[in-house]
Subunit: 367 residues, 2 copies
């Protein structure tokens, strides 16, 4: 069953207000997706995520495959049930973490051999295996297995990397189509299955990005992601690449920009026509004391906040800004208290989700 | 103004159902007080503590004095306001941590010189200084500065330690009476002030405990604590000491047993007539994966829970047991996720607070 995506309104600049109809839930787009690497958005409980209005969160296939294991999660009813998350989930393909986290890796046309960053054990991931793992996890949306081209990458390297990613996209899709009816909740949800998105790569080469997009569209995925950005390239290049790729993707399908970015970036790209974004920034920065506010970035460790009784962000109405002072958050951070990461993360997620909510309102169709 | 404490019902065994009328709030006793060392009950947000039904929590004077500093907290309106805790607070005297945590200490009749465990800086605590710090923090209940006699302690050592503690109790009380009107919220709360409890010491020597209790009662504190227990002595000795001391304390004033204990202990001692208890056990054990349940202790790290989809405690209705499985809690612990400590702590506190709630019901006066 094809993924239903309704574009409710669109602007001349390309921005769209949409609705992503996932098997058990409709998600309003543009949507920001908090990252829940190991089956938890670090330091924040699920009921708080619900209160914050998170609708769709990410799980990392690489982490969940290694621990607790995808088969264990399937036996327990899939990732939604395992982590008690009744809303929507997306899993990445594991590719990015294999390349960025694992201790050793060897790439061949067949797949990637790598050693676990946890215990050094040896594993082999292929597009087919990534699909099997993601079907076992049972997220609403799965991602094709790809190689994230690093920046900078020479022309030859980018071409070779793209060749691999396109071959793996084909194999991912074929295997997914053959197996997607095995997802554990299929009967419970009226025969619906997961969706699979392809990932546009090609580094910073316009023609390679174009080729990548066209070939993926031809394969007919449920949605399309733009990968390989926010990997160190200058922001103008990020923007140019997005502007180049977006018009090549079918307007009737969701477009996902992976791993981006700062609050002003997610706003800008959503207004350009990106429907989905994820980023570790709000959660990771929070644990290091960096808060995003309507007044800019605030490093809560600063001595000048030691007796500042104002809220982290005077314009924010989140549960942290309503209750706690900058001085208290600074104290928690200085004292290494676990509540520090929790409260900082809650505020940053509220801020990111709030940015996206405002963007959705600005894209709202007229009554 | 004297602390108002109403005994609503009492059993033959000595157990009492009471009501502690603190300046801004009445607390039902017997009460279990979660420990919030540095102005936070580790890993749990204040709104969750409220939901759990925590009415009175502890702050540690030693920690708050060193960081962020009692003067800073007073300038920010006192500890309640600093940590955004609208319910009741008790601070210890700092003595226990000076003896257990500091890097170096030198005791004289005058007080204790010690080095901070944080940065090695040198500090000097006297009974008078402990009172000043506690008045600056502004908790509802303060504790006299004492020396916690270690176990085992020979007769000479216990006598000498008790002499010091009794001298310090007198000085604590005199200084507190002279200064207690300086508490920052006094005008706001109709002229009410903090309360001060004396601490019975004397090690495991019955006559010393008796002497200690009688001398403190003569000084006329607002309430009385039993200190120096749960420091390694056998449980029968703990029980004997409590049974020896309780009848010596005035029935009309609250009795606080410090730093005790396991769930069955807090139940037992409450039924013997203890009105208040605190312990780090539910919070500290939680962070190490030890859960207290109606079926006994459960080490959530156990491999046998890897795919156990049951709740941590089938008889528990807390927000963790209603939503998460043992398998998920085990996974969070294995993965070193911060949510692990949070969820484990919430359950353990719910369990401890639930034990005390049942005890209060069993002591309820007949209608």
């Amino acid at each position: 069953m094809a993924l239903e995506f309704n574009v409710l309104a669109a602007t001349e600049a390309g921005g769209r207000r949409g609705e992503l109809c996932l098997p058990d839930r409709a998600v309003q787009t543009p949507v920001f997706m908090p990252v829940g690497t190991a089956g938890t958005v670090k330091a924040v409980a699920q009921d708080v995520l619900e209160t914050l209005g998170a609708e769709l969160i990410l799980g990392n296939t690489y982490h969940l495959y290694l621990r607790p294991g995808h088969e264990a999660i399937r036996r327990m009813g899939g990732l939604h049930r395992f982590m008690s998350w009744p809303r929507a989930l997306l899993t990445d393909s594991g590719g990015f973490q294999v390349f960025s986290l694992s201790a050793m890796r060897k790439v061949s046309d067949e797949g990637v051999r790598f050693r676990s960053h946890l215990d050094g054990s040896s594993h082999f991931f292929t597009p087919e295996h990534s699909m099997d793992v993601q079907i076992a996890l049972g997220a609403d949306i799965c991602m094709a297995f790809d190689e994230c081209t690093e920046y900078p990458a020479g022309r030859d390297r980018a071409e070779e990397s793209l060749r691999l990613t396109m071959d793996w996209a084909r194999r991912s899709l074929d295997h997914f189509r053959a197996r997607c009816e095995e997802v554990i909740w299929r009967n419970e949800l009226g025969g619906r299955t997961q969706s699979l998105f392809g990932i546009v790569q090609g580094g910073t080469y316009r023609d390679l990005r174009r080729e990548s997009a066209e070939r993926l569209v031809e394969m007919d995925f449920d949605g399309y992601a733009i990968g390989g950005l926010s990997v160190g390239e200058p922001r103008e290049l990020t923007e140019e690449t997005i502007a180049e790729v977006l018009p090549l993707l079918p307007a009737a399908k969701p477009r996902y920009l992976m791993g981006v970015g700062y609050p002003d970036e997610i706003e800008q790209y959503a207004l350009m026509g990106v429907d989905m974004m994820d980023c570790v920034l709000p959660t990771r920065a929070a644990r290091h004391g960096l808060l995003f506010t309507s007044e800019g970035r605030l490093n809560i460790k600063g001595k000048r906040y030691a007796e500042d009784q104002g809220p982290p962000d005077p314009a924010c109405n989140c549960m942290v800004c309503r209750r706690y002072s900058r001085a208290y958050l600074r104290h928690l951070m200085q004292a290494g208290e676990p509540l520090s990461g929790t409260l900082n993360t809650i505020h940053n997620l509220a801020y990111y989700l709030g940015v996206m909510e405002r963007v959705r309102k600005s894209l709202q169709p007229e009554e």
